[in-house]
């Protein structure tokens, strides 16, 4: 990083905001078509009924909630990287913090869509909002789904504000160099940032407090999501390990997604000098750690099932690795706990290709983790006569495709219109060295 200068940082980052070429717009266009496909599927579902998806009795929750949990999980690492690592003064997070935060904001948005898609009568979703009304409708705050509403909306608010606050000085940099309409827009959104000493002082304190505020949210949001399951009575769900297990899993998947996004970003925008292999290596090391936690959680679940000697618990944990969804289970175990162990080898965790491959596999594995938890437990719960299997339909795949497209659509728009690396924070490292940020 030694050959970086303030100007070079500015230059590299601002270069990414140059008018894009045609291939960019083609990609954006294709993604948009994907989004439309998803939207069309959803509209069809609303008009026809949830039955167009593959859910049934007993499996009344399907890919919509799998995707919900998956995207909430993805949303975790952004704040972890930008807030917790900020508080821990891990300077290596600076180059990737912005992109990770952006990922968070978009992932929460996508995640927030899925409960809507999931609802049988989405047009009445406002029943879940505690607003006074003449029908005397009130919400059941005992319900984990109400927890979700509160937790997700708080998380979205805080992470968006945190993201925006961190971006302020950079927006001003762009404003200063922009012309025309662009200048006007950036003038408004940079909120009159002048770089005055007083402003920097407030900014630094504000950012720190935000980080402190966001930190408990990282833990709480996915804990709350886990209670959707843990507060149910279903064997395989009803367990106290779920909150830490879900948080660890969320960070695991989020870090993997960070790698999945950073590696192409770094390549396309020539960020090699800013997002160095060292940074990626540090992410990889964290993945080893989270992977081990997740693996430990898997093992603990099995141990507890055996230790409880509860026939229902034992049955479900026997069913997962051997039953109808065994393939999903083994994808989950291998991708989430075995494959990350490869990162113990230095040449693997420093190889961009390996890292990229492994990150994708972890993403797949984490998706299957949610699949296994959500589907397998209810498909074989208490009453054997009512057991049944579930498989997603083409509509669900369409909506899933739409969700992924929407995420990358947003992300692509972001990287070309806003600074995807925090110039401010890069300069901080340059000035103070990696260990003295903050």
């Amino acid at each position: 990083m030694n050959d970086l200068t303030f100007a070079k940082i500015d230059q590299t980052v601002l270069d990414t905001l140059q008018p894009p070429d045609r291939s960019y717009w083609v990609t954006v266009g294709i993604l948009f078509i994907g989004v439309l496909t998803g939207a069309a599927c959803w509209i069809y579902q609303i008009l026809t009924g949830i039955g167009v998806a593959g859910m049934n009795n007993p499996v009344a929750w399907g890919t919509y909630l799998i995707n919900f949990v998956f995207w909430v999980g993805i949303a975790h690492s952004g704040t972890l990287i930008s807030a917790i690592l900020h508080l821990l003064r891990a300077g290596w997070r600076n180059p990737i913090a912005r992109a990770a935060e952006t990922m968070t904001v978009f992932a929460v948005c996508i995640a927030g869509l899925f409960p809507f898609i999931h609802l049988g009568r989405v047009w009445l979703v406002f029943y879940m909002l505690p607003v006074p009304n003449q029908r005397n409708l009130w919400q059941n705050f005992q319900s984990p789904l109400m927890f979700d509403v509160v937790a997700i909306s708080t998380y979205l608010t805080v992470s968006s504000l945190f993201w925006f606050t961190g971006m302020l000085p950079d927006l001003a940099v762009i404003r200063d160099r922009a012309t025309g309409l662009r200048k006007k827009i950036f003038t408004v959104i940079s909120l009159g940032w002048t770089g005055a000493h007083e402003q920097w002082r407030h900014y630094a304190r504000g950012y720190l407090f935000f980080a402190a505020l966001a930190t408990p949210l990282v833990i709480s949001v996915h804990s709350v999501v886990s209670w959707d399951f843990a507060l149910g009575v279903v064997p395989g769900w009803h367990t106290t390990i779920f909150a830490p297990y879900f948080v660890a899993g969320a960070i695991h998947s989020g870090l993997a997604m960070v790698l999945t996004l950073m590696i192409p970003l770094r390549k396309i925008f020539h960020y090699e000098k800013i997002i160095t292999t060292g940074v990626l290596e540090n992410v990889a090391k964290t993945i080893i750690f989270t992977g081990l936690i997740v693996g430990f959680a898997y093992a603990t679940e099995f141990f507890m099932a055996w230790y409880s000697q509860n026939p229902l618990e034992m049955a479900i944990f026997k069913y997962r690795p051997t039953g109808d969804y065994a393939v999903g289970f083994w994808i989950m175990v291998v991708c989430n706990t075995i494959i990350p162990l490869l990162l113990f080898f230095k040449h693997i965790r420093t190889s961009i290709l390996w890292l990229f491959g492994i990150s994708i596999l972890i993403n797949i594995g984490m998706w299957y983790e949610r699949f296994v938890i959500i589907i397998s437990s209810v498909s074989r719960d208490f009453i054997p006569h009512a057991w049944g299997l579930y498989s997603p339909t083409i509509i669900e795949f369409g909506i899933m495709l739409g969700a992924f497209c929407l995420f990358f659509f947003f992300f692509l728009l972001f990287v070309k219109h806003l600074p995807s690396v925090s110039m401010t924070e890069m300069k901080e490292i340059l000035e103070q060295g990696e260990d003295h940020v903050g």
């Binding site: 039955g51 009795n57 208490f382």
Partner: protein, 978 residues
């Protein structure tokens, strides 16, 4: 634009938009604009009439709301069914509202159907009949389903006028062998009834008296009177047959035997009891004849080739000898491989030896179906018709083209151009397709009539609603066409009244009113004894015993509890409710033993081709240990090529494999065919079955207790927290204990509704499910959705096999448990599941947004989600119960304990300023349960029936250890160690 204009435009605009939006309100909420004086909107009128779904003749009362029949229930005054009804009876009203019901007469014109008016059809009928009559005698022939005496008399009179002989009463299940056996042994060509309730041991050689045999609702009640736990219990029931019917599943022991081996088994039993010195009362000559006949059937022999095990035989014999009052029943429709008659004769003799007075036989109160013609007569009828296809054929609500095997020549006979075929039917069935004129007539729920299920039990029929179509009563059709005097204004109604007066049932109008009000005269004669002597002629039937079918593959067609002979296959409820034994709905699988499956490399759902000498079928395989290893079993009723949208192309018709040949001396059909060959087709289908697993996986769901254990049981001494020792926790404050409960108990006001389910009485017949479909407007989802697992039944009968003794089956009706600690209530974000003051777990449809969390969290998986807007094709919507909301897509629903009925009774009680009495609230399932396995009442009332029943040492709660405190308390099934 200034502020004022903006406000004006905004104001006008919003008014315009609001005015423009209307909800699509139903404009015809009430069917009558000017109601009759005595009709109170919202108050039901009940009409007593008689069920005509099978020949049993149960009494029903039809509930009429605002001019539409919306529900039928058993008539509590009627001695045959005592207020109970089977699922076929419950579904009878769907015939009225069937979307494929024919509305006007259809005349065949060049292979197409031309609708004509009723008057034109009548004129045509009259012309054709008169024309045929002038050409010669016996030119107008008639085949009818079994009908009441008055109508049959009218048919006969009319046919006589047309110079023809009387109608042939055709029933696919005519019990020929039983009738002939009674004739051979008792000299009585009829179908005696049995006082099952007084027996202390029952043995059936295939008679499926809980499903279709003679009078299933009546016998189900009598069977449970005899068999359910009472005064110490101990009465046994053994079933010996090649396949396990629902009846066999309710036996203490099902003893599989080779098809056709029943005769030999009965002989061996006779041999043993004769050796023990029984039967001394018989004339010596006859006794020695019998000894000679049966002596070759030794017990060792029997166990060698009949398929029955030595243990089973010994068990059967020793219990029979010990029993003071045994009753042995003969074969069902699809049992004995060609030895039906012999078995039934032998069974009669065994009864005679064991109980010389035949106390349990009732020779007077015989079943009306005995008047049905034998199958041989039906076959001859069509043979004659084919030889001389002249004149006219009248078919009254009968479908021989479907019910008779294809080789019987029915279609050929009907196709003849020179024969004018008239089918009186309401649906285009296989037979009507070949008719020249399809003439819709009033359905039993729409017409006057009488039907005497047993002598002295003269059930009456009266219209329970106005007509949806202009179809006349068939009686009127005959009166109008056969009468010489065209100006005659007699209706069948007056004809019927005259008939009733002639019979002596009624004298004046007051009597008549009383008669129709209560649905008939109920003066069953006292049981009639038999004072005859056995004729020696029985011996000759024994010369013709066929060898049992021990090794080759045998195909058996069994009557269906759902469709009977097939007449019910077009009623969506019957298709939708799964078969009690296989839990397969809509499809007709072939049941194959696992050994046969392994031998042929089959797995469940594989489509196999079954070939017999007479035809072939491609059927999906269902793995079942309820058939002998060489038996393929298929139930009858489906596989229609016509018969309305719900029946057409659905399932299979096993008749296609059966032999059309009728043999002497049986003169009846054989619902069994051999040899058959099977071959894989390579195709596989997903069966529409509703069961996830056939066993309980040790989960303590459907529990049983042995009689010995029960004798020493102390009530509810458990105090633990695990599956095995969790106590019974009533959904009342006393069921709460600080050791296991965090939250305080609910505060119920006056009532805490609760249901008790006695598993010892449940026979698994699923009548409750049908009643629920009718009462609560449940959606029929159809075969595809069923395969996807989206059935909407609020109550289902779970069937669990004992993994160690797979033939032991426990049925468990499962519905919403209305828990006090309901897992569904706490997880809903919008309080859609709501705990009422009376303990009900109400589902508030308007509030539900469809998160489905409640269903996920329900340990009993009884919640049903509306995945789509279910369809009630016009005019099926008219049958909906106006007291129950029709749920739209995206809403969760479930059993409500028939809250609408509770509310209704609340209103009554409030008017009279009193509390609701015990037994006053009767949910639909409880109302119809033929064996009285369900009880409903208020747990807070210490004297209520349910409160007393929960003190029973057998009481338990399903998954009670989850501490959900269910309000449905089950009583364990009592099993006997034999």
């Amino acid at each position: 634009m200034d502020r004022r204009t903006f406000l004006k435009i905004a104001g006008m605009g919003s008014v315009a938009i609001t005015a423009g939006c209307t909800s699509e309100a139903d404009k015809t909420l009430f069917s009558l604009v000017h109601a009759p004086d005595d009709m109170v909107t919202g108050k039901a009128a009940w009409y007593a009439t008689t069920c005509r779904e099978c020949p049993a003749g149960c009494g029903i009362i039809a509930k009429n709301r605002e001019g539409r029949v919306i529900k039928v229930e058993g008539n509590p005054l009627h001695p045959i069914n005592c207020g109970k009804l089977c699922m076929r009876g419950q579904s009878a009203l769907q015939r009225i509202y069937h979307p494929d019901r024919i509305k006007t007469p259809l005349l065949k014109a060049k292979e197409t159907w031309q609708p004509i008016s009723f008057s034109k059809a009548l004129a045509l009928l009259k012309d054709k009949a008169a024309g045929a009559a002038t050409k010669g005698s016996n030119r107008v022939r008639m085949l009818t389903e079994i009908e009441g005496e008055s109508l049959l008399k009218l048919f006969a009179q009319s046919l006589k006028k047309w110079r023809s002989s009387g109608p042939l009463v055709f029933e696919p299940f005519a019990y020929e062998s039983l009738k002939s056996a009674n004739e051979k042994v008792f000299g009585l060509n009829g179908l005696v009834s049995y006082n099952l309730q007084d027996a202390d041991m029952l043995v059936s050689f295939g008679a499926d008296f809980l499903e279709t045999w003679l009078s299933p609702v009546e016998y189900a009640q009598k069977f449970k009177d005899m068999h359910a736990l009472k005064n110490g219990g101990g009465n046994l029931f053994f079933h010996i047959s090649p396949y396990q019917s629902l009846t066999a599943a309710n036996a203490d022991q099902w003893m599989p035997c080779a098809p056709g081996a029943e005769t030999a088994i009965v002989f061996a039993l006779i041999n043993e009891v004769l050796q023990l010195g029984r039967g001394q009362h018989m004339p010596e000559s006859f006794r020695s004849l019998l000894v000679r006949t049966v002596s070759k059937h030794t017990r060792i022999d029997i166990t060698r080739y009949s398929g029955i095990s030595a243990e089973h035989f010994q068990m059967l014999l020793s219990r029979l000898i010990e029993s003071p009052m045994p009753l042995i029943l003969g074969t069902g429709a699809g049992s004995s491989g060609g030895n039906d008659l012999q078995t039934n004769v032998a069974v009669n003799l065994l009864n005679l030896i064991l109980d010389p007075k035949l106390t349990l036989f009732d020779f007077v109160n015989r079943h009306r179906v005995e008047i049905a013609a034998k199958r041989s007569e039906a076959i001859d009828f069509f043979k004659e018709l084919k030889e001389e296809p002249l004149g006219m054929l009248l078919l009254n609500n009968t479908n021989p083209a479907f019910s008779l095997p294809p080789g019987s020549g029915v279609k050929d006979a009907l196709k003849a151009k020179s024969l004018f075929v008239v089918s009186f039917t309401n649906v285009m069935d296989e037979t009507a397709q070949f008719a020249d004129l399809v003439f819709p007539v009033a359905l039993p729920l729409e017409k006057w009539g009488e039907y005497e299920g047993k002598p002295g039990i003269g059930g009456t029929l009266q219209p329970a609603m106005g007509r949806l179509t202009n179809a006349p009563d068939i009686g009127d059709v005959f009166l109008k066409t056969a009468s010489e005097d065209a100006s005659r204004t007699d209706t069948f109604k007056t004809y019927l009244f005259k008939h009733l007066i002639q019979k002596g049932g009624i004298r004046d109008q007051k009597d008549r009113l009383q008669l129709f009000r209560q649905g008939g005269t109920y003066n069953p004669s006292p049981s009639g004894r038999w004072y005859g002597t056995v004729s020696h002629s029985v011996a000759d039937v024994f010369n013709k015993i066929k060898a049992s079918l021990d090794s080759e593959l045998v195909f058996i067609a069994a009557p269906s509890i759902r469709f009977f002979d097939g007449r019910g296959a077009y009623l969506p409820w019957l298709c939708e409710i799964p078969d009690p034994m296989t839990k397969v709905a809509w499809h007709t699988p072939v049941l194959v033993h696992p050994k046969t499956m392994v031998k042929n490399g089959l797995s469940q759902g594989d489509v196999i081709q079954i070939r017999s000498q007479w035809g072939q079928l491609e059927a999906p395989v269902y793995e079942s240990q309820g058939v002998r290893s060489n038996v393929l079993l298929m139930s009858m009723g489906q596989g229609h090529i016509a018969h309305g949208r719900y029946a057409q192309g659905m399932g299979l018709n096993p008749n296609e494999l059966l032999s059309p040949e009728i043999k002497n001396p049986l003169n009846g059909p054989e619902f069994i065919v051999h040899p058959v060959f099977i071959q894989k087709t390579g195709r596989t289908i997903k069966l529409a079955h509703t069961d996830g697993s056939r066993i309980q996986h040790g989960r303590k769901i459907a529990l049983s207790v042995s009689l010995d254990e029960l004798k020493h049981a102390k009530p509810h001494e458990k105090h633990g927290l695990t599956m095995n020792d969790f106590p019974l926790t009533l959904p009342l404050p006393e069921g709460y204990d600080s050791k296991q409960d965090f939250y305080p108990p609910h505060d119920h006001k006056d009532y805490r509704w609760s249901m008790v389910v006695d598993l010892d009485k449940c026979i698994g017949c699923s009548a409750c499910a049908a009643a629920c479909y009718a009462e609560n407007n449940l959606g029929v989802v159809g075969i595809e959705r069923m395969i996807e697992g989206r059935e909407m039944s609020w109550i289902r009968v779970e069937r669990y096999h004992d993994p160690e003794h797979i033939e032991n089956i426990t049925f468990l009706p499962m519905m919403c448990q209305h828990c006090d600690n309901a897992p569904c209530e706490s997880v809903c974000p919008v309080y859609a599941p709501h705990h009422s003051k009376e303990g009900l777990n109400n589902q508030i449809y308007n509030r539900c947004i469809g998160t489905r969390f409640c269903s996920q969290n329900c340990p009993y998986k009884v919640r049903r989600f509306n995945w789509f807007d279910w369809q009630w094709p016009d005019p099926m919507n008219l049958q909906l119960n106006p007291n129950v909301t029709v749920r739209s897509k995206g809403v969760m629903e479930k059993c409500s304990f028939c809250v609408q009925r509770i509310k209704e009774v609340h209103g009554l009680a409030k008017n009279k300023k009193r509390m609701i009495k015990d037994g006053e609230v009767v949910p639909a399932c409880v109302q119809t349960c033929p064996t009285g396995a369900l009880f409903f009442g208020n747990l807070m009332d210490k004297k209520s029936r349910v409160r007393q029943l929960v003190q029973d040492p057998r009481a338990y709660q399903v998954m009670g250890y989850l501490n959900t405190k269910p309000a449905v308390i089950y009583l364990k099934k009592v099993v006997q160690k034999i």
